[in-house]
């Protein structure tokens, strides 16, 4: 169960990162701007860097490589998503779609905050049950080499 969950969380990050990376960065920049949270220079930087972080965290979680650190990275990302989407909902910002998965999937912010909160809890559980989470992982392979 833990392994399946780890793979699922990894896939979510990979899908999310890939969707943004394969599209011009201006599309994700537009999504970030809608949240009205960062200064302009930070919006551009986030639009260009964050999809890479999502992809790398996703691949490492999926493969089980540096699993504790990758899961902490995933936990931090989900925490950021919850805060960013939550503040947008509290401020009633006019968001039509969260933009989380680039053009691949359109989700309403209300749906996303629930999904992110659940994912945050599940990632925390994976981190707590690290022994089971690390089954069938590259970490175990390298520990035995």
């Amino acid at each position: 169960m833990y392994v399946i969950l780890r793979i699922a969380i990894g896939c979510i990050f990979i899908l999310s990162g890939l969707g943004k990376l394969l599209s011009p960065y201006q599309n994700f920049l537009y999504v970030i701007q809608a949240y009205q949270l960062l200064p302009s220079w930070a919006e551009v930087l986030t639009a260009q860097v964050f999809p890479w972080i999502e992809l790398i965290v996703g691949v490492f979680v999926l493969l089980g490589l540096w699993t504790p650190w990758a899961l902490r990275g995933a936990l931090l990302c989900f925490g950021i998503f919850v805060v960013v989407v939550g503040q947008a909902l509290i401020r009633a910002l006019p968001l039509e779609s969260c933009g989380c998965f680039g053009e691949l999937v359109h989700l309403k912010p209300q749906t996303v905050i629930v999904m992110d909160s659940v994912s945050l809890v599940l990632t925390y559980l994976l981190l707590k049950g690290l022994t089971r989470t690390r089954k069938f992982s590259l970490d175990v392979y390298f520990d035995n080499v």
Binding site: P24, L29, E103
Partner: protein, 204 residues
């Protein structure tokens, strides 16, 4: 190979794959051509700043962007050339296609900008309706469109094809959201980025 080396190789392979994929999947059309004969264009065709705007008439940000551009155009009428292209987000906005169809039919009667003003200023009202067609018909009548010609145009496959072809062009340019602008062929998404880009061309 130890764990750290393997990790670095994985990151390197990922970067290589993405850069390669971006290269091969990059927008097929590298730039969008300005058509100076277009009925959906206004301004000076020789202007130093040419803007092509892909819009969905039901998108609130497009309404904001169109109003912003209208004000900016009024301040710089000789320095701007603006052209509108269709990019109806039909999976998000139920009235995206019909509003684009009315706009295209208005363009064919030389009434694009007049109808556009009405559509944008009343977007919040008609976007809520189950069927906005009577409202669009009323707007068309108010701006002096020939209603018989309008009905023929609305039923024609050709108007729909123009819209779908422009959307396909937009997709080939990497557009996923509206409004997306090409300011002298530089892709800019959203009104905020447009304002930032125009500041570069028109420093105060």
């Amino acid at each position: 190979m130890n764990k750290l080396q393997s990790s670095l190789v994985i990151v390197g392979v990922l970067v290589g794959l993405i850069v390669g994929a971006k290269f091969y999947l990059a927008p097929k059309a590298k730039k969008v051509e300005v058509n100076i004969q277009d009925a959906r264009a206004k301004g000076n065709p020789q202007a130093r700043v040419k803007i092509i705007e892909f819009v969905d008439f039901q998108c609130p940000a497009c309404a904001y962007g169109l109003k912003y551009l209208k004000t900016f155009f009024d301040q710089h009428p000789n320095d701007l050339y603006i052209q509108v292209r269709y990019f109806p987000l039909t999976n998000m906005h139920h009235h995206a296609m019909i509003s684009a169809l009315f706009s295209e039919c208005a363009a064919r009667q030389g009434k694009f900008w007049a109808l556009d003003d009405q559509m944008i200023s009343q977007q919040a009202q008609w976007a809520q309706l189950i069927n906005p067609q009577p409202v669009f018909q009323s707007m068309a009548s108010q701006v002096g469109m020939d209603m018989d010609q309008l009905n023929v145009c609305l039923a024609s496959e050709n108007a729909r094809k123009v819209i779908n072809d422009e959307k396909s062009l937009g997709q080939s340019l990497g557009i996923t959201s509206t409004p997306t602008y090409f300011v002298n062929n530089k892709m800019v998404v959203g009104p905020k980025s447009l304002a930032d880009e125009l500041k570069n061309h028109f420093p105060q």
